[in-house]
């Protein structure tokens, strides 16, 4: 979890880095990544032919790399990058590559406080997982999908445990896939496994599993639910109770099941992307109430409004009382909050962010190639050349804006209640 209480919340704007100078200095500057607190901005740069470096606030990390990409800040603020050195891959953290290197490494993920970094690796044509730089001992025929518990740092991966010869369609249906949790594969194998998830405390691991040509269910700690479905989507754990919920298709329509039992009376043409309130008591999901009528369902009650194009995964307010989502209707993007669609439309919207008290909703928006922060559906900030998601201060009175204006990356703290002071 990003601890933003220790950040500088002094109202005002600070120019953190002159990005224009970096672009002048190097032939190529790749995608910029901004730290959550807005104090750093970094990008891979072409330092010499076939040689990359990482620039952070105009300063280069010491090392140079054959490749460098996928810059990401951990929740505790460390900068990570996938880097290739001497034809081997590893993760560099704040400029220090891990000691271990592999034939390939990709898909780094973090737990809530950033103390656990897990990524997928390949070595000698075998697949595995590395956690904080230490590879699991076991190797697999393939690995796809990685999850980490938010608090306990337990790591699970979808892995292929049995070999499969080319065109062996019989062997495929005997089951070659399973899950591995902290280096230990489940005993059970499945035709397919998807969407692994780990409970917050790490006590349970679940995934979608396929048992027959058209026979799916959820498996928890290697044990499939007794019920079988025509299809299922990725499960989620309810915070607090540890119960597992997932969309399941029964008789051609979708509903939500908990531990194998439908808990919603509603039946939908489609149902996915369920999200839970922080206390786990409320559930919101994206549903198609009818053909081309997409909406949000909250605790089994669909919104009256619907959208023909797309509904992004819903977001709960911190207290769980409100729900918002980015929506697309007639080719234009907007926001819907608690079944009310905000009238202004945009070229693109990012996921909404509730204030700590849930009273206001902010989000990054795009119009005509410029970006701004909208509050409660209306553009509120100036328009920037580039922008990252806004962050509310812990007391909800201020907002951190991280953006690029005039070629400079700026960190701007503004009072939410005031008229925006540029």
């Amino acid at each position: 979890m990003v601890d933003c209480g220790s950040w500088d919340w002094t109202i005002g704007k600070r120019a953190i880095s002159d990005l224009g100078r970096v672009h002048d200095e190097y032939d190529e500057v790749h995608e910029w990544a901004a730290s959550p607190d807005g104090e750093r901005v970094a990008a891979p740069v072409l330092a010499a032919p076939d040689t990359f470096a990482i620039v952070v606030n105009q300063e280069r990390w010491d090392g140079e790399f054959e490749k460098a990409w996928h810059l990401a800040f951990t929740p505790d603020g460390r900068l990570t990058a996938l880097v290739r050195i001497d034809d081997e891959w590893t993760l560099a953290v704040d400029g220090e590559p891990w000691d271990e290197r592999w034939e390939f490494a990709w898909n780094p993920i973090f737990n809530r406080d950033g103390s656990v970094i897990a990524l997928q690796i390949k070595d000698n044509m075998e697949y595995s997982v590395a956690v904080n730089g230490v590879p699991w001992q076991r190797r697999f025929h393939s690995s796809r999908g990685l999850a980490v518990s938010r608090d306990a740092g337990r790591v699970a991966a979808v892995v292929q445990v049995n070999p499969l010869a080319e065109a062996d369609t019989v062997g495929f249906f005997e089951g070659t896939w399973s899950l591995a949790v902290d280096d230990v594969p489940w005993d059970a194998t499945f035709i397919n496994a998807y969407g692994p998830t780990v409970s917050d405390d790490g006590a349970a691991v679940a995934a979608e599993v396929r048992l027959g040509i058209c026979e799916y269910t959820l498996a928890e700690n290697a044990i499939p639910w007794e019920q079988r479905y025509g299809c299922v989507w990725e499960p989620s754990y309810r915070n607090g109770s540890g119960r597992l919920v997932a969309p399941v298709r029964i008789g051609g329509s979708w509903t939500l099941a908990e531990n194998g039992v439908p808990i919603w009376g509603g039946r939908f043409m489609q149902l996915w992307n369920q999200r839970l309130s922080s206390d786990g008591r409320r559930i919101a999901a994206v549903a198609a109430a009818g053909f081309g009528r997409w909406t949000v369902v909250v605790d089994d009650r669909p919104w009256r409004t619907s959208f023909d194009d797309l509904v992004r995964p819903p977001v709960f307010s911190p207290d769980g009382a409100r729900v918002a989502a980015g929506v697309r209707r007639g080719g234009r993007w907007s926001f819907a909050v608690d079944d009310r669609v905000w009238p202004e439309t945009f070229d693109m919207v990012w996921d909404p962010v509730f204030s700590p008290g849930g009273g206001t909703v902010a989000a990054k928006i795009e119009r005509d190639g410029k970006y701004a922060v909208a509050i409660d559906g209306r553009p509120w900030s100036p328009w920037y050349d580039q922008l990252w998601d806004p962050t509310y201060s812990p007391d909800g009175t201020r907002m951190l804006i991280r953006g690029v204006e005039g070629g400079r990356f700026v960190r701007h703290v503004v009072g939410v209640a005031d008229r925006f002071q540029a």
Binding site: F104, W106, S142, R144, Q160, A167, F172, C231, A288, D308
Partner: protein, 439 residues
């Protein structure tokens, strides 16, 4: 009577699977699909067809096989779905064996016949219903099933591992940079205008096509990206095997990846069936009436770039060329004029096939046919003699095929009928003809 040679083809995916079926399972599965997965549409088709046979002359396999009535679309439905309905699912293994050959091999679901049906009956839909039944029975040609299994396991058509995908993009970026300084393949660039998506065979066996696009995007000054994770493959052989659950999973992931990257539209490479899967069949199975984010086929995108002047043509291909109209983007989308605009822009001697546009014949490789693999190749060739005649008549040295199935299928036809020409994607010609910034 259908071709004896075809009837003797051994395909474990069909023969061995049928051997393990019980009459009860066959009956239950057929009736389940007929009662739970079909409805008024199928009934309307079944009750409207007057067996006039006008569809026969529309079918390239019927024409290519000297008008053998067994290859007429109406016969293909009569010998499969109609009998299943009439017998209320009480059919035996021999019947299923024949049905599998007809549904997977003799019909490519190209929909040419529907244009000639006086009632506009979508015969392809009925054949796809047969495939759905066969899929649920596990009776699918082995190679097509293997491709579907790849989709189910890896979310792409060719068992491409996640690391191989990323590695290939990086390697292709290097190749593109060797041709054009500064060319990139930007991965996971959130907020880009375009997500470019390709089909599994590109990273696996035709990787240079990705480098071609990197060059074209660079010349056009496009703001684009490709996903580094699953969801990059827009192809969907599960759609053709009848495994609609896997089809839906692949399509959902594709559109969710585009949504997560916040792109304005998806430009897809030169493939026809992938267009059908991503724009029509996939979204509809999932609950959308249309793609949730606009999708543009490569032909449309090239047209946009050339007609707007974002890329300029510096020289033209001089040798005679013709073009194959891919069913799913011409009959299914009406891109024939844009296709010819692009071809005429880059080629000095373009010669159309006869018939052309939406009346052009299928390559007999789409609809999952070519994915049914080597056991069925000879049958596929015999069913498209008419395509060989069409190509030969143009005198073209190059057949332009903006579709992977057309590309591979026509390559086979050229070899089988010794036509002495070759095939090319548009991007292969574009990179030879466009004006490079440094030139």
């Amino acid at each position: 009577m259908a071709d004896l040679e075809d009837r003797q083809v051994v395909d474990p995916g069909i023969d061995e699977s049928i051997a393990g079926l019980t009459p009860d399972r066959i009956e239950r599965t057929i009736n389940r699909v007929l009662t739970e997965e079909t409805g008024a549409r199928l009934q309307a088709y079944l009750q409207t067809c007057v067996h006039c046979g006008l569809c026969a002359e529309a079918c390239q396999s019927y024409i290519s096989r000297d008008k053998d009535p067994d290859y007429a679309p109406v016969a293909k439905v009569k010998d499969t779905l109609w009998e299943m309905v009439k017998r209320k699912g009480k059919v035996d293994g021999e019947f299923l064996h024949n049905a599998a050959r007809i549904a997977y091999i003799d019909c490519g679901a190209c929909r040419r016949c529907s244009m000639y049906c006086p009632f506009g009956i979508d015969i392809s839909y009925m054949i796809m219903t047969v495939r759905r039944i066969l899929n649920l029975l596990g009776v699918v040609p082995q190679y097509l099933q293997d491709t579907t299994n790849s989709h189910a396991a890896t979310m792409n058509q060719m068992w491409v591992q996640q690391d191989d995908w990323i590695d290939t993009l990086m390697w292709q970026e290097e190749d593109a940079r060797s041709e054009l300084a500064g060319a990139r393949i930007p991965l996971d660039r959130e907020g880009a205008e375009i997500m470019y998506s390709v089909i599994g065979p590109e990273p696996k066996i035709l990787a240079q096509l990705i480098a071609n696009m990197a060059i074209i995007f660079k010349v056009a000054g496009a703001d684009w990206t490709m996903p580094s994770t699953d969801g990059w493959d827009n192809s969907n052989m599960a759609m053709y095997s009848g495994d609609f659950e896997t089809m839906g999973r692949v399509e959902r992931l594709h559109w969710e990846r585009a949504s997560e990257l916040r792109v304005k539209r998806v430009v897809m490479g030169e493939c026809g069936h992938a267009y059908r899967g991503a724009v029509y069949d996939g979204p509809r199975w999932l609950g959308w009436t249309k793609p949730p984010i606009p999708m543009v086929h490569a032909v449309e995108y090239y047209y946009e770039l050339i007609s707007s002047g974002r890329i300029r043509i510096a020289r033209k291909i001089e040798e005679p060329v013709t073009v194959q109209d891919p069913c799913n983007i011409v009959r299914g989308r009406g891109l024939h004029d844009k296709l010819r605009y692009v071809v005429n822009a880059i080629c000095a001697d373009f010669r159309d096939m006869d018939p052309r546009y939406e009346h052009n014949y299928c390559c007999q490789a789409g609809g999952g046919l070519i994915n049914c693999g080597p056991p069925w190749k000879r049958s596929r060739m015999k069913s498209n003699r008419v395509k060989a005649d069409q190509i030969r008549d143009t005198g073209a040295h190059t057949v332009i095929t903006p579709c992977h199935n057309c590309h591979s299928g026509i390559e086979d036809i050229i070899g089988f009928y010794k036509l002495g020409c070759h095939v090319s994607f548009i991007s292969e010609l574009l990179v030879k003809t466009i004006e490079m910034p440094d030139a």
